[in-house]
């Protein structure tokens, strides 16, 4: 049995003919199987005799090499199983979920307050629980908005669209801004960026929750500028505090601000019903009530086709 003993016989430091890595693995496996058979059947004597004969064939010469190869095999096996259990383990995400409810609440409120000190790098908590919950909340609010506005999704499902939009925004824009940070030499890691953008969605959640239920356009614009603007300002201030150089600061913050505000605008107008007659537009109340925006393009084109056909038929 090569693997267990720590004593190396110095007499046999000759060539290691007859023992290779694969042979060692095979031998090891065979010996293990033989051991198991031993335990099951109780034929201890016969197995030992076979073992003795087997080693005798290889001879005492390659014993050192065999031991080394056997140890290498075991170390390799241990490393492989360790690597597998490392990457297939969700425990690598565990430190990012180590939060208390008080901390989450504090961070949610802080995400609406822009910091004043931009000359000193601000601390960002690299936590993923809050952002993940906020993204799911946004998905739920979006679903509510789509259902109440009777949005008809042609290719795909409501739920798929909502999840795809929100997660796509969170992951995609985070990666893009992280890439820009790499180019502009800003001091921020991927997890921190995910966390920052995730908490920035808190403003979006509030805005959409209010304006999907109260259909005033000017109210939406106030919320867009006020709440959306505050959360954008906070994210921008934190990024500015971690970037050096005017051009770089301008690039990063301009991109982030534009994407964040435009996303809120998109979410409101793409998935929200324009109610006729309750509009409070800037043009004043003398405008004719805005017609319902049809999402169903084929129906509209069909209607147009029908009316033109009728008009043509009447003129003929």
């Amino acid at each position: 049995q090569g693997g267990g003993s720590a004593v190396i016989d110095m007499e046999n430091m000759d060539d290691t003919s007859g023992s290779s890595f694969e042979d060692m693995g095979e031998m090891h496996q065979r010996m293990k199987e033989e051991e198991e058979e031993e335990e099951a059947d109780g034929e201890a004597g016969a197995a030992e005799e076979e073992d003795g004969e087997f080693l005798g064939m290889k001879g005492l010469r390659g014993q050192l090499g065999r031991q080394v190869a056997d140890q290498m095999w075991q170390v390799g096996k241990r490393q492989a199983s360790k690597a597998f259990s490392l990457y297939a383990n969700i425990d690598i995400l565990r430190p990012y979920f180590d939060v208390e409810p008080v901390q989450v609440r504090t961070r949610l409120l802080e995400s609406m307050i822009p910091v004043k000190m931009i000359n000193f790098p601000q601390k960002i908590a690299g936590e993923l629980y809050g952002p993940l919950m906020l993204v799911f909340t946004l998905v739920a609010i979006l679903l509510h908005g789509m259902k109440t506005s009777d949005t008809i999704i042609r290719e795909g499902t409501l739920m798929g669209t909502a999840i795809g939009t929100c997660f796509g925004y969170w992951l995609g824009v985070s990666s893009f801004i992280y890439f820009l940070a790499y180019l502009c030499n800003a001091q921020i890691t991927m997890v921190q960026m995910l966390s920052l953008l995730g908490y920035g969605l808190f403003g979006h959640c509030i805005t959409l929750f209010v304006t999907y239920n109260i259909h005033f356009h000017s109210l939406f614009y106030i919320f867009w500028l006020g709440v959306g603007g505050l959360s954008t300002l906070r994210m921008v201030a934190v990024l500015v505090s971690r970037t050096v150089g005017h051009t770089q600061r301008l690039i990063m913050c301009g991109t982030l601000a534009a994407l964040h505000m435009l996303f809120l605008l998109y979410l409101h107008f793409a998935y929200h019903k324009v109610v006729e007659g309750i509009l409070d537009t800037l043009e004043g109340p003398n405008m004719q009530p805005f017609q319902r925006v049809a999402r169903d393009i084929p129906v509209v084109s069909n209607a147009i086709l029908n009316t033109t056909a009728k008009a043509v038929a009447l003129t003929l």
Partner: protein, 217 residues
């Protein structure tokens, strides 16, 4: 005392005997070899286990039966029946019937997996399938709500029916959340219960929302 201290055995008498330990009764074998029993017994045993868990969900006490012997039959049945009842509730006639079923199915299982992962990452002591089992079984009140909504919608779809449906769905949503919290929150460290309850709340909220906004064609 000299006689007592003499425990030596004379060398010409061979020592022999049985070293085997007598194995206990054959009952452990009987428990594992359920291959020979009639199919009816197997089915009835599984059905009884599922039924007992349904009763546990409707009257959530802190019993460990739901957790100990988890099974996913109940959640599968509930999920399929809920998805079947929610089908055909969209504005379009033919093409949205398919995705609706798959949508509900995916939402329930994907949501349950996410909540389980979340509670494990927050330091929960419950295993993956136990959590899936509890979350699946606690969909039962919402399935009952769906049945009631369908019956109410058969009668009519005015404001009164909407109010009735709203009350029923809210009540069942509360019941689901409380039932699953009663089973799951115990396995968390005490100061983080709110962090685990919120995703469960969101999950059942989405399902309740789907039930409430269901309109038949």
């Amino acid at each position: 005392f000299a006689g007592l201290s003499d425990v030596s055995i004379s060398e010409d008498i061979p020592v022999e005997g049985e070293i085997t330990v007598p194995v206990g009764s054959q009952s452990p074998d009987e428990d594992y070899s359920t291959l020979d029993e009639p199919v009816r017994d197997t089915i009835m045993r599984d059905l009884k286990a599922v039924g007992k868990k349904f009763v546990h969900v409707m009257y959530p006490k802190k019993s460990s039966a739901l957790l100990r012997d988890w099974d996913l039959w109940g959640p599968l049945v509930l999920c399929v029946s809920l998805a079947l009842m929610l089908q055909g509730g969209s504005a379009d006639s033919k093409d949205d019937g398919g995705p609706q079923f798959a949508e509900v199915f995916v939402i329930i299982w994907f949501g349950a997996v996410v909540i389980t992962l979340n509670s494990k990452l927050l330091g929960g002591t419950i295993s993956f399938f136990q959590s899936l089992c509890v979350l699946g079984y606690c969909v039962l009140p919402l399935t009952v709500a769906m049945l009631v909504c369908r019956l109410v919608l058969l009668a009519g779809s005015g404001t009164v029916s909407f109010v009735v449906r709203l009350i029923v769905v809210i009540a069942m949503f509360g019941w689901s959340t409380l039932a699953s919290t009663a089973f799951l929150a115990d396995s968390q460290p005490p100061n983080r219960k709110a962090l685990v309850v919120y995703p469960i709340f969101l999950f059942y909220f989405v399902i309740s929302w789907m039930i409430l906004t269901f309109t038949p064609q």
